[in-house]
């Protein structure tokens, strides 16, 4: 098995148009949650989301190319461009053929699908736009990245709800580690702000009518987010040999299925995924210094995750620093784990642990050190990023400081 380095990162989210803006927002604890603007919300019980404000394709894509891309696919390419540039990848025909692209997306081109359904069911038209299918498919992000860079190796998309991009990054990690690919572009993208999907979230009664307050006693649910984060993964030795900047090392990946309920989280399922990740990284629990929590701010997730962390880490749980950056970039579903992996990379790279924003009141059932509201200057060696999806499909990544 080869060691795997993260040599490039890119992001677009409510926290800014690139990783520099993302890192700065986390450092100062500035959230991107506000009134939803990309669709009408008058008929909704909630009004707030974490959107990429004032987004237009124009600085990024020519009009004709953008015609073929839903917003979620555009985000995927924008983040991948930054990651590839950041890694200073030098493309050769061989590298293009052996590079992999593995993306995560939960809902794909929902906005495009919504527009089609409005045409059909609301406006009474008897046809929808011919690009509805290629814009809606969840693999469009991976496909457009492959065309952007001429990458002809393995490319696919993983859809496991809120764990999608953690499963994607983990799969890419394994492919680079075992030698299937010499380079991988991996991460996730999502753009779920269409009325149809917002109504579906409203019906579940898990979205906060105000803001996102993970682990806080007065938390009232999640806030939806959008965006993308992408990474370039390479074998560590090869990356060092070409003088690439190593931002962090990916050292562990664990997965589990709860096998109990389609929406309720499970303490044991979450704990099994964390233990599997520790085994994969060959680490003792005491070696982890920071956890980027799944931390959705629903009543159920935060107390389940707290109990799972206590089960896995025992007494060390009280020495761990934990935060949920969803309090700032929102819950971006299939892009969530990628944004959180990026927050974890930045924490290791810069020696600054991001805070849990909007924290107002300790909850005795979530009694961990959640870095309330203010980032912490602290260099840790190993960090974990948790993702626990609806459907009970869990994925946990472990990263090491470079």
């Amino acid at each position: 098995m080869r060691r795997v380095a993260i040599t490039g990162a890119g992001a677009i989210s409510a926290l800014g148009r690139n990783t520099t803006e993302f890192a700065e927002s986390l450092r100062v604890g500035r959230g991107g949650i506000g009134q939803i603007e990309s669709t009408g919300v008058a008929s909704l019980r909630f009004q707030n989301g974490a959107e990429v404000k004032n987004y237009s394709h124009q600085p990024y894509f020519e009009d004709r190319r953008a015609d073929f891309m839903d917003r979620f696919a555009q985000f995927a390419v924008i983040a991948a461009r930054e990651a590839v540039q950041d890694a200073a990848v030098e493309w050769t025909p061989e590298l293009r053929e052996t590079s992999a692209i593995i993306t995560g997306s939960c809902v794909g081109g929902q906005s495009t699908e919504d527009v089609g359904f409005v045409e059909l069911y609301q406006k009474g038209h008897n046809r929808v736009h011919p690009l509805t299918i290629p814009k809606t498919m969840a693999n469009a992000g991976a496909s457009h990245i492959s065309m952007e860079f001429g990458i002809t190796g393995p490319a696919f998309t993983i859809s496991t709800a809120c764990s999608s991009s953690a499963h994607a990054i983990g799969q890419a990690f394994q492919m680079v580690a075992i030698g299937t690919s010499e380079l991988a572009i991996t991460g996730g993208s999502e753009a779920p702000f269409s009325l149809g999907i917002l109504k579906a979230w409203e019906a579940m009664r898990v979205v906060s009518p105000e803001t996102c307050r993970p682990f806080s006693k007065d938390r009232r649910g999640m806030i939806l987010g959008e965006g993308a984060a992408m990474f370039v993964l390479e074998p560590l030795e090869a990356a060092q040999a070409r003088g690439a900047r190593i931002q962090a090392e990916l050292v562990g990946f664990g997965m589990s299925a709860d096998a109990c309920h389609i929406t309720q989280p499970s303490i044991d399922g979450a704990a099994r995924a964390m233990r599997a990740a520790l085994r994969s990284a060959k680490l003792a629990p005491e070696q982890i210094g920071y956890i980027n929590a799944h931390g959705t701010a629903t009543l159920a997730n935060d107390l389940t995750e707290t109990a799972a962390i206590r089960q896995v880490f025992g007494a060390h749980a009280d020495r761990l620093a934990i935060s949920s950056t969803k309090s700032m970039h929102g819950h971006a579903l299939g892009a969530a784990a990628a944004l959180e992996c990026l927050a974890t990379v930045i924490a290791l790279r810069d020696g600054v642990l991001p805070p849990t924003a909007n924290f107002s009141e300790p909850d005795p059932e979530c009694d961990l050190d959640v870095i309330p509201n203010v980032a912490r200057l602290q260099q840790v060696e190993y960090a974990m990023s948790n993702s626990f999806a609806f459907g009970g499909l869990n994925a946990v990544l472990i990263l090491k400081v470079a």
């Binding site: 019980r45 019906a203 579940m204 009664r205 009518p209 009232r220 309920h261 389609i262 929406t263 309720q264 159920a300």
Partner: protein, 88 residues
């Protein structure tokens, strides 16, 4: 609380949870009926349809049994008919 309202609420619960109607009474606790949070959300959805009301999240947070659920529905139905203009 009207008998009619209790019957309609218990029927919605039984139909939604797919359990025999006779197992659901005004004294049933959700825990006894095996109603979890997702079941409860589905029942609220069905109640909104049955009574043509909108049930806000704040109304449901503390509801753990059929009696409280009936009382909540009754309150919302009354509020709705108070709002509706006469003759409609």
């Amino acid at each position: 609380m009207s008998e009619d309202l209790i019957q309609r609420v218990t029927k919605v619960i039984a139909t939604s949870k797919r359990i025999p109607l006779e197992t659901v009474t005004i004294d049933s606790e959700f825990v006894q009926l095996g109603i979890d949070s997702m079941d409860a959300v589905e029942i609220l959805f069905a109640l909104e349809g049955e009574f043509d009301i909108s049930i806000p999240d704040e109304e449901v947070r503390s509801v753990r049994n059929v009696r409280d659920m009936c009382a909540g529905v009754e309150r919302l139905v009354a509020a709705k008919s108070a709002e509706a203009p006469a003759g409609q």
